[in-house]
Amino acid sequence: MLELTDADIKALIAEPKTWPGRGRIELRREMRHKRADKELEAPSGRLFRVFIRQLAEDPLDFTVGLVFRDKATGESIRLIRCNGPHRHPNRLEGEMIDKACHVHMATEKYMQANRKENGWAYESADYRDLDTAISHFAKVTNITPIPYIGKPPAETLELFDER
């Protein structure tokens, strides 16, 4: 498994990344959920994958995640994931997030404890649904233009001067 420090993880998340085109996301139906996946190559040459999922039955059951893929080893690690409002326990801390939007982050602590790297999460009030989660996620992960599903966010309109 990839060995990353917390500083490495933060640097990878913050590394500038470009979403191809103008950021429009086409969700496609797969079984009982909708999904989109996008491979991003940063100017540094590092490879990332963004994945978006939303359950058809429950639109608040969604996730938007960023995976880093190490070219040398082919190994992948989920760096960060914005989740909808549901329960999540932080097992190592003995904390429970109850029915709140939360952001999973990869941490050195969980990796060293042989837990899933992004087993720790923090509660977030920065988004409330999939659309706002995507915008928030893109800002945190330094993706431009801000991707969107329906209407382009103000930042994207400004970038392409389409107002």
Partner: protein
């Protein structure tokens, strides 16, 4: 119908030897809060519908959605694995939704099977590296059988031409032999497979044997650049991975060879 939630809660908890909470959502629908989790700590999603002495447990498709963060759940061989898991626990599978129905008398057993099925399905994510390796060749064989053979009936496995390779040391994994130049087809998972493909092609090339070659990589980024480049230098057409989109391309490239 009056449902004794406390009694059901006790039965479900007893079935899985863990604390279970039933939260009413609608008239007959409940969300089940259990301590069972995916590897990243997210809880399994479980709902219960109770009507006329019957219960139905469902995950509304969440389990496979969660697995799909890391795994291509649509690959044929993986679907077969999933079928086996679900059959073991007598669960229904409908376009991603995992469910089971029972009468209230057997609710404990049904719930136990439901949770076991979800946990085993969730564990598919753990198989991704190991299973990807063993499944790749199975999937490739399925692809050749279902998508190529109907159009190119003379497909041979582990083929060799005695005039060039009498002992079969340089066997071609799949050879399409519809008259004209044959097409050698190589599924490549590791650098060793890539090396072997290069060696086999060179053996036939140095014997002035006319052929074309095609390689499907499970993931080209995992292959060392030297044999990868050698394979390309020989003129081999490739697909860089074997996802649904590239399988389409692989099919087109192989069939195009015989359309000329």
């Amino acid at each position: 119908m009056n449902v004794d939630v406390q009694k059901l809660q006790a039965q479900l908890a007893d079935a899985v030897s863990a604390r279970v909470r039933i939260e009413p959502l609608g008239r007959n629908t409940y969300r089940l809060i259990t301590p069972f989790e995916f590897d990243d700590g997210d809880s399994l999603v479980a709902y219960m519908e109770v009507t006329d002495g019957h219960a139905r447990f469902t995950d509304h498709g969440h389990t496979l959605m969660h697995v799909s963060y890391d795994v291509d759940i649509t690959r044929e061989a993986r679907t077969k694995i999933l079928d086996r898991v679900l059959a073991t626990h007598q669960l229904k599978f409908d376009d991603g939704e995992i469910s089971t129905e029972c009468d209230l008398k057997s609710i404990a057993t049904a719930f136990w099977d439901f949770i076991q099925g979800l946990l085993r399905t969730a564990d598919i994510a753990q198989w991704k590296v190991e299973r990807a390796a063993s499944l790749f060749f199975e999937e490739f064989a399925l692809f050749m059988e279902q998508r190529i053979k109907p159009h190119v009936p003379t497909v041979a496995m582990d083929w060799h031409d005695n005039r060039v390779d009498e002992s079969g040391l340089y066997a071609i994994p799949w050879a399409c032999l519809n008259g004209g130049d044959p097409l050698f087809v190589f599924p490549i998972l590791t650098t060793a497979h890539c090396d072997q493909a290069v060696i086999s092609c060179l053996k036939y090339e140095t014997a002035d044997y006319k052929f074309k070659s095609f390689a499907a990589f499970e993931d080209i980024d995992k292959i060392n650049s030297r044999p990868r480049n050698q394979l390309l230098d020989i003129g081999t057409k490739t697909v860089t991975s074997f996802d649904a989109q590239r399988r389409e391309r692989a099919e087109r490239l192989i069939l195009d060879h015989f359309a000329r």
